[in-house]
Structures are given as structure tokens and as C-alpha cells.
Symmetry: C2
Subunit: 371 residues, 2 copies
Amino acid sequence: MDLLIHREELVRALARAQGIVEKRPTSPILSAVLLQATADGLRATATDKTMTILADYQATVRRPGEIAVDAANFFQVAKVLSGDIVTLTLTDNGRLEVRCGSALFKLTTFSAADFPVTPALDQARALTIESPALRGVIDRVHFAVAPDDNRYGLNGAHVEDTSAATGAVVRFVGTDGNRLCWAQAPYTGELGIGRKMLLPRKGLGEIRKLLEGYDGPVQIAFGDRAALIQYPGVLVHCRLLEADFPDYRQVLPAAFKRRALVDRDALREALRRVSILATDATNSVKFQFSPEGLVLSARKLDAGECREEVPIEYSGEAISMGFNARFVVEVLGAMAGSRVSLELGDALSPCILRDMDDDNALFVVMPVRLD
Amino acid sequence: MDLLIHREELVRALARAQGIVEKRPTSPILSAVLLQATADGLRATATDKTMTILADYQATVRRPGEIAVDAANFFQVAKVLSGDIVTLTLTDNGRLEVRCGSALFKLTTFSAADFPVTPALDQARALTIESPALRGVIDRVHFAVAPDDNRYGLNGAHVEDTSAATGAVVRFVGTDGNRLCWAQAPYTGELGIGRKMLLPRKGLGEIRKLLEGYDGPVQIAFGDRAALIQYPGVLVHCRLLEADFPDYRQVLPAAFKRRALVDRDALREALRRVSILATDATNSVKFQFSPEGLVLSARKLDAGECREEVPIEYSGEAISMGFNARFVVEVLGAMAGSRVSLELGDALSPCILRDMDDDNALFVVMPVRLD
């Protein structure tokens, strides 16, 4: 293998790769990036066994070949190189020589043959969704997916078809038991529904990062145990979670007794202030809704108490409820519009939050019991 | 106590205070800031028992008074307030009410009488040094002071008088046993030399932070056990370390056998690259000096090796030496000029580094043994 590559292109390849490889791998090869040089350029492949990213980069290949190199190590080197063009040469003694300016690095390598093979996937059925729409869906759902829950089915975003007469629509749903969000977008093509359609949280995050800066169409194919996400130059193979997602529609209240309309930024800023004196563990803030306004208050032992009023438009009887401030702040942060509605039932019923400018997402936050 | 203060001024006061108070205090009062409101404004005092900072802030005081409040807690609150003017009111039940915009915080307090008394210091003799010069001295010495060494005398910067016929000069010296730096600046007034003139590392860092943005004269008075640093609106009382600083002049070689002149940025950047493949614990990089140039190289088990050449002007016989790359990079970072000289003896003799544009500082780095 012998090739020339722009330093920025190499850094981009290795930044992606080292983000996905395992930090404490069970086998050293799992911390490596596979480099494959062909007449078309350089392909870099990285995997953590649950997901694999293959991406193509521009390079002038003088001699094709393939080799695997520790991704984090190579990334560190590439970041500090000084110069425009980097030469990568695989030597006879199995070192990868990295030349740039007056610097010469000789990196130890792994055999490309030892690198895990990316599983194949039947791509007969695939849907196409525009990248900005997919980014929007992930942004509104990803934060609510449980990071590492015993209830295994909560550790991924559930994908389902919510097509109606008006057109084909795909919906992502995430929850950690305390809040639940769904967001949806139109698609073309075919959504091949498998048995379990649960995209793991890490995979969702990595796909979101890859989509940054790309605004064209994205293809998604679902197999029985994996999904394939693809756009020109990038292919992601992502294992689906083998678990059941709860029947989330059951927790969505069919009607509400009370409704508050509020300015999103005003509520978010006030909550940030008041939650400073919320008890650390529960982070619970008291919400007192009434036609006169919304009063937020909190109290922390040995520190003090605080209150702040936020103007609302309100319909229904006055009520006091508690919420974990962080959950509400995160939901408000996932919205883009300026006005938010809060649909309330009784003190311990789930609260539905809607961005008044966005019909394609819905957010639910469970209240907490006030002492 | 009842006063109005600009939010920025309050944030500035509390940022300083929470930086100095103990993070895990033996007594809660040691995490508090003492607030004293008089006709002149608001004075905030914070201490960690080894140092005390008293600083004055502009405020419109409607009712004088004093109270102590947890500094970190109050800082968190002040940071997120929205509005220009903050009202602070001490209520009859001992809460400090903080009002800003529509937010109301009631903070728990400590009695001002419980706050530790700042020790007095005989200020008869004091020297005056310009703030930019003092900042420069601290910047070139602080990083080399040992953070927490068993050799207690290394945990502070030694201060001494190096006045000559040309004028009065004060020198600060710091070392951790691996490198040593001194820097000096002219002063007026009188340097009252005490028995032990060791300014602790943390105190040095806090004084440096306080001096940021102030360019006038600074007064320093040394007592037997403490130093007083003072400029309009700020007074710092800093306990001196009760320990002996080594006779640092002993380690400074009187002459050198070899000398290299090198571009500071070129050496620093090359060292940063090569040290990526230095062994983590020792961080040692091989320096091969010869009239042809300086070759830096490093090798790390399981990762690989690297080398880079840096142009030098060299006099003397060729030599190979090892240095901890971090120590050299930090010394180069403390300089401002573009050209650096390295004065060398034998492979294990100390290396003196000088900024060619700066006669008022000197840096020494001990070599490491190469395997």
C-alpha cells in the first residue's frame, strides 16, 4: 500500500473511526481501523461489533493494499502533523510509514485478514429519507433514549411506520421510562418492517454525527437483525437490539383536563434558575399552574429556596405538580419553535409537551411526587 | 444588609470567592464568602486558611450589614440570573434574599462572626512592582513549582533580592526537581526579607488570576510568616511555606560545552508530534544534537516509532540525550521570543534554556537516562 492523502481528509477519516472503535477492546484488533486502498481511493472501516462504519475518502493511490492500524493512536498522530499532504506507505516489515513535512512515523499494524468481516444484509427493500429530516428526527428522540437501562428494550429508538392517506411517514420513538419522545418524517421507497426495529442509542448518535454537513438523500434498509444506513461514500451497518419496546401508545393520555401555553425560552431559563436550588438527586421543581400564571419553586436543605413566575395562557383548574427539571429542560431544548403547550391531567398524570410550530414530534414527561 | 449591585459585579465577586474557598471544607464556614456592606460598597472576603482574598465591589448600599453565604452555591445562582441589577437583602429570619427580574432566591447563611479573622501583618516595609511585570514573573515560574511534593520546600516559589548596581530587582524561583525556572523584575520600595520567602503554588496562581486586567502598581509586603499583596480594591493575605528551598544556584552549571540555537515554535511543534509515540510514563524523547541538525525520536511499545529533524545552529561535539518532552514543551511555552538557546554539558548534565529576547528569566531542565 502506498498513497497520498490530504491531511484534513485523513484526520476526518480517523476522527470518525476512533469515535466508533471500542475504548477498552477485548481484542486489540477491535481498536483498529481497517484501511483499504484501491484505484478509487481510501476506504476506512471501523467497528465496535454492534455497528460498523465504512467510509470512502479521496486519496491518490500509487500501490493498492490493505492494513489495520490502532485508530486512536493514528488519529493522535494525524492531528498534529504539519503539512498539506500525507504519504502512507506499508513497508515490507509490516510497518505503516506516515510521512508529512519533516516528520516520519512508523506505526505498528494488524493484519487486514484479522479484521472482523462486516455482515451482509439483504438490501432489497430500502426507504429513502432526506438527511436534514433524518437529523431532525434523531435530534428530537436521541436524548430521551435510555443510556444503559436494565429494561433492555429502552436502550434503543423504536422505528415504526405511521403512514397515512397523506403519505408515507416513518416515526422514531425513544423513552427511558421518565420521558418519551417521538418524531417523524416523510419517506419514499419501502420500509421493510422487521420483527424488532430498535436502533441502539450509540448507533443513533454515530449516524447523527455522520449526517452532519451532508444534505442529500439517505437510504435505510432494515433486515431481521440489522439496519443499513447509506449515502454516497458512507455505509453504516448497525445491529438492532433484540428486545421488546413497550407499547408506548398506552402511556399517551387520550385527553387533557388542563392546558398551558408558554414561551419556550422563558420557561427554560426560569427552570434553569430555579433548579439550582432543587435537591440534587431528584432535581424536582414544583410547578403551580393557575390562570394567574405558572409559579416554579424549589427548596434544598442547607442551601435555601427560590421561586420564579412565568406568564402562561391557561385553561382548566389550578394544580400543583412536581417535575424533574432536567427532563423538562431537555425536552424544551429539543424543540425549535417559540411557543410550547403543556397538556395536563391530574397531579401524577403524564404531561404532554408540544412545539406549537411542529406537528411531527411529541414529548411526554412523567411528573414526580411532591413531598 | 440591603443593597443593589450590578449582576456582572456580583458574578465577578463570587467567581473570585468560590475559586479560593475550600472545596471539601472541614467546617462549612470555610466554604463561605463573607459579605460586608458599608457606605463605600460591598467587600467580599474568602479564605482557605492558607490565603485570604479581600476585594471591594461597587454597590449601592441602602442598609449596611454583614453576612456569610456558601460561595459556590451563591455563584451558581448569580451566574444564571437574568437582569442588570440584583438586590441583596438580609431578612430578620437570617435568610439572604436575592432578587433579580422575576426570580427570588432565599439563601441560608452563616453568622459573619463565625468567619475566620484575617491575620494582621506589619506593613512597614513594602515593595512596589508593576502588575504586567509581576504577571510575567509568575507566568514564567508558576508552572515549574511542584504541585504537591514530599519535599515541602518545593511547593512554593522562592523569592529573593537580586538587586545590582543597575537597580533593585526581585527574583522568583520555582522547581520540582526535574526543571527549575527563575524570572525577575525591577521594583521600588523595600523588599523586607523574612526568614523563609516561599509563596505557595496555589497562592501564586490565585494572585496571577487577580492581576489579570489590572495594569497598575502592586504592593507586596513580606512578614515573617505571611505576605500581603495589595492594589486598589484588592488585598491578598498569603501564608508563606515554613520550609527550606534548596540552594538552587548549586545546580546551575557555570559553563557549557555545547550550545544549540533553535526556533522556539519549530522545536515545540516537532516535540509535540514526536512525543505522541513517547512512552506514557516517562514521556522521554531522544535528542540527537550535531552540527547537521537536531533529530528528535521516540519509540513506544506496541505503537511504533517516529523521528523528526529540526534545524539548529550548533557549536560543540555531537551528543545524544533524553528529555521528558512535556518539561521541555512547558518551558518553551513560558517563553515569548522566537529564538531559544540550549546550553548543554554531558548527556546527564542539566540543560539551560534561554529566551534570546529575555535576559530576565532562565530555565533548567534535567535530562533523563536513555535506555
